[in-house]
């Protein structure tokens, strides 16, 4: 659809909606109000289509404009309430009402308008725009992985492009430029590493590695050249770092690794113990991680997971989990310092979105099928609850509107 045409349609529908809404509120006659409301709802249905919500547009027309408004019109006819007396009087209440309405419109409208200014109505954050990510945390001396997805930087689809990003370590303000290289000729995904040295000295800028100690922070601000917005990546330097994959599928092993120089107590391969918790079910499993070699300071281990819905017993070696669960690993070194695997929680069952799929999703979004899938699978429970609610409303409405109650039991 042509952009300018879409703009014209939007402004037309919006103007109609506002005029009709004012008609609802200002009409002396209730029947005109009702008809104006129908008009508003039609305009809104049109806007829903613009927003790719075709199913809801249909529902809006059928449920609201059709059923509900007919109910209103019946009520108006029944009560002969078309022209109710007393409306003409000008009152302080009416004056304040309009005043408050305008204040509210400014308060809310200005806020949301400014906050979302310039952001496309279409879904952007996953499919478009650059995404900068980096290892959440590292131990001093380790290297952090930095990745960037930015299709705009894929200047030449034939070769692996490179991007340079400046990182600054705090609190020493040591700056290093890290070069990211495209993973393939046309992937638009760039990867690189930031090396560190466990060193208290403030390092020189651009010497290839950060001199860091636990507690330091390495940050980068990457400008999206199209919008002028910044993406920020932060790498924290810690005594201990615990890592876990972002997602695993059911029945697969959950690999966990801990980097910690402090736990490397002897020349032989040491072990550390961590606890993995299934946040919703509450099941806990202790996992023993073994050092990958003498004095490496890196410990790895795996936890068996099994698909199931009933929470399993604690510490039986197998984590019972299902799609949507969140697993948290907790490593508690002897000095009482807690480290949570903050953003390394895994989502079971859902594979990572492949960027290419986004295009087809855009088409499918908002259609009847996707709404129905959400409604009947994820939101089955409130759907049923709404059915009960409608039943109660029906009983209540019938009882109250019935002509006469039984004679009082006097």
């Amino acid at each position: 659809m042509d952009i300018s045409l879409m703009q014209i349609i939007f402004w037309a529908l919006a103007a109609c909606a506002v005029v009709a809404a004012l008609g609802v509120v200002l009409s002396r006659n209730a029947i005109y109000s009702a008809l104006c409301l129908v008009g508003t709802m039609f305009c809104l249905a049109g806007l829903f289509v613009l927003l790719n919500a075709q199913f809801l547009a249909a529902a809006q027309v059928i449920v609201y404009a059709g059923a509900v408004m007919v109910l209103f019109l019946f009520a108006i006819m029944l009560l002969q309430a078309g022209q109710a007396p007393g409306e003409e009087r000008f009152t302080v209440q009416a004056l304040l009402g309009w005043l408050f309405g305008i204040i509210l419109a400014v308060q809310i409208g200005a806020l949301v308008f400014v906050a979302f200014k310039g952001q496309s109505a279409a879904h952007t954050s996953k499919t478009g725009g650059p995404v900068l990510s980096a290892s959440q945390a590292i131990v001093p001396g380790a290297s952090a992985t930095v990745t960037l997805k930015d299709s705009y930087k894929n200047a030449d689809s034939k070769v692996k492009d490179t991007v340079e990003i400046e990182f600054i370590a705090g609190p020493t303000n040591e700056a290093e430029t890290i070069t990211l290289t495209e993973t393939g000729p046309d992937t638009a995904v760039f990867a690189g590493t930031a090396a560190t040295l466990a060193d208290a000295l403030p390092g020189k800028p651009e010497d290839g590695a950060f001199h860091v100690q636990p507690g330091y922070k390495i940050t980068a601000n990457y400008e999206d050249t199209r919008t002028g917005n910044y993406r920020t990546a932060v790498i924290r330097v810690r005594d201990h770092v615990i890592e876990m994959p972002a997602a695993v599928t059911p029945d697969a092993d959950l690999n966990v690794s801990v980097s910690s120089h402090a736990a490397n107590t002897g020349p032989a391969a040491d072990t550390v113990k961590i606890v993995v918790t299934n946040k919703p079910s509450g099941e806990r499993e202790a996992v023993v991680l073994t050092e990958t070699g003498p004095a490496t300071g890196v410990f790895t281990g795996a936890l068996k997971t099994k698909h199931g819905t009933v929470p399993g017993r604690n510490n039986d070696g197998v984590m019972i989990a299902r799609g949507g669960d969140t697993l948290t690993a907790l490593y508690q070194p002897g000095d009482g310092d807690k480290i949570e695997a903050a953003l390394t929680d895994g989502e079971l069952g859902e594979d990572e979105q492949i960027p290419e799929a986004a295009a087809s999703a855009e088409v499918a979004f908002g259609n009847t099928e996707s709404v129905a899938l959400a409604l009947f699978a994820k939101y089955l429970y409130p759907f049923e609850a709404i059915a009960v609610l409608l039943l109660i409303a029906m009983i209540g409405a019938v009882l109250i509107a019935k002509k006469k109650l039984k004679k009082a039991n006097d």
Partner: protein
């Protein structure tokens, strides 16, 4: 370009018109319609956000809002009718036996 903010601002304006309607009108039925207007405005916000986030949950919520609004209208109209039978008016400022 028509961005999400346009939809949101429109939603805020419609919502406020609905609020003003509730505050200024005396006819119970029109007040009800104004409330429907408010709910519709909120629905617009939901759908705009849903589109903005690329998440269909917002649309599901709109369906629930519609169902609930219908239920409220049913009960509300029943009550208005019952009051009209008793007092012969649908003017809400006449319904003030209980005060202070």
């Amino acid at each position: 370009m028509i961005g999400v903010s346009h939809y949101l601002a429109l939603s805020a304006i419609l919502f406020s018109i609905g609020v003003a309607g509730v505050l200024t009108r005396r006819n119970a039925l029109i007040i009800f319609m104004s409330i429907e207007l408010m709910l519709n405005a909120v629905n617009l916000s939901f759908i705009a956000f849903s589109r903005h986030l690329g998440d269909v949950d917002g649309q599901v919520f709109v369906l629930f809002v519609m169902a609930v609004a219908a239920a409220e209208v049913a009960v509300g109209l029943a009550i208005i009718i019952s009051i009209y039978r008793k007092r012969g008016t649908a003017n809400i400022d006449k319904v003030n036996i209980m005060k202070w």
